[in-house]
């Protein structure tokens, strides 16, 4: 019915710059109107282009959930894994083929509830990968249950009178587990998200980017917060950029100020470097360094 509409008649046909990185045959995607995951994919695609990494040597790994669908929509080598196990699969990929750039793209429930254990251990070992967590503060795909990131007093289907479970502070968890790059932004900060993802991809070691995203269908509706646009306006008005903030102080409370920024950037030896160094010190020249 509707074809592409252009505002002026003599405009040359210009393709959307991210189309080459997407599987357009699978569009439109499953995400709800007002959901922020599509915007994060947009930022991620632009960050990949700007970072100039070899796309034939980039792999994206997702778990299960709304954000887990990202791997299916990106025109890269992608891996849609079992629930919570995106990081173990990514670790295996990285060990088998150290030339690959690995990006784990998943949601808060998948990475921190079902796969929480894997996250802290990959960060502890400093496996060279980038973890992007789209945090919508609730379990979206399964029907709005309270997640380990849901703020206290927010309602979900499993806590109809409001949650009283203290939530995880994701940047603090990543920082204390040993991640070398930790940043948090909201979907409203599109340019910052793009820059943070680019920096995280180019930073060697376990880098972590948290992106707070609206969930209009479940989180906002159950808590009477309006639609996706209302949440975006809330982020615009209530985000405070504080680079280098102590990650202990960046807790998220229900509808309170959100502290965003780049919190941690440091250098640590990666898992493969440590393995090669240690085994060389034990076996000397008998040991051949593992380069993939």
């Amino acid at each position: 019915m509707h074809e592409q509409q252009t505002a002026t008649a003599e405009v040359p046909e210009v393709k959307n710059p991210v189309e080459s990185l997407l599987r357009m045959d699978r569009m439109p995607h499953i995400w709800c109107p007002g959901c922020g995951i599509g915007t994060t994919v947009n930022c991620f695609a632009r960050a990949l282009e700007q970072s100039k990494v070899d796309l034939d040597k980039t792999a994206i790994v997702s778990g299960i959930g709304c954000t887990g669908r990202v791997a299916g929509y990106l025109n890269l080598d992608s891996f849609h894994t079992t629930h919570g196990r995106a990081i173990p699969f990514a670790t295996g990929l990285k060990l088998a083929n150290p030339d690959l750039k690995i990006v784990v793209y998943s949601g808060d429930g998948d990475l921190f509830a079902i796969g929480g254990n894997h996250f802290i251990h990959a960060a502890r070992r400093n496996v060279d990968m980038t973890v992007i967590c789209v945090n919508n503060l609730i379990y979206g795909m399964t029907g709005g249950q309270v997640a380990p990131t849901t703020p206290v007093t927010a309602k979900g289907t499993t806590y109809p009178y409001g949650s009283y479970d203290p939530p995880f502070n994701l940047p603090f968890l990543a920082d204390s587990s040993g991640a070398v790059y930790v940043a948090r932004w909201t979907v409203y900060h599109v340019h910052h998200v793009t820059k943070a993802i680019k920096e995280a991809i180019l930073h060697r070691g376990f880098s972590f980017v948290e992106i707070i995203s609206p969930c209009p269908t479940l989180y906002s509706r159950r808590n009477r917060l309006g639609d996706g646009l209302d949440q975006m306006k809330f982020y615009q008005e209530n985000s405070e950029i504080r680079h280098g903030a102590n990650t202990k102080d960046v807790d998220i409370d229900f509808q309170k100020k959100i502290i965003v920024g780049k919190f941690v950037e440091r250098e640590r030896k990666t898992y493969r470097q440590l393995m090669n160094e240690h085994l060389t010190s034990v076996f000397g020249e008998q040991y051949t360094k593992y380069e993939g």
Partner: protein, 76 residues
Amino acid sequence: MKKVQGTVVIKADSCKGCAFCVEFCPTGALHLSDSYNAKGYRIPELIDETKCTGCGLCGLFCPDFAIHGFIIKKVA
């Protein structure tokens, strides 16, 4: 002040009417039109094409990859 003329391309069929592009357009060049697409969502429209600078922020915000802006010419 304004040195470039831009425009937007809208894929009406992909749009879900979230209005992120309309709200965050830096020059206020877009609005939600009264027409609906096949799924029943109100789609954005360029109200004043002279206002568009082709910055592409609408395209960066769009969760459905349904809109993108670009520069068409320089204005003296």
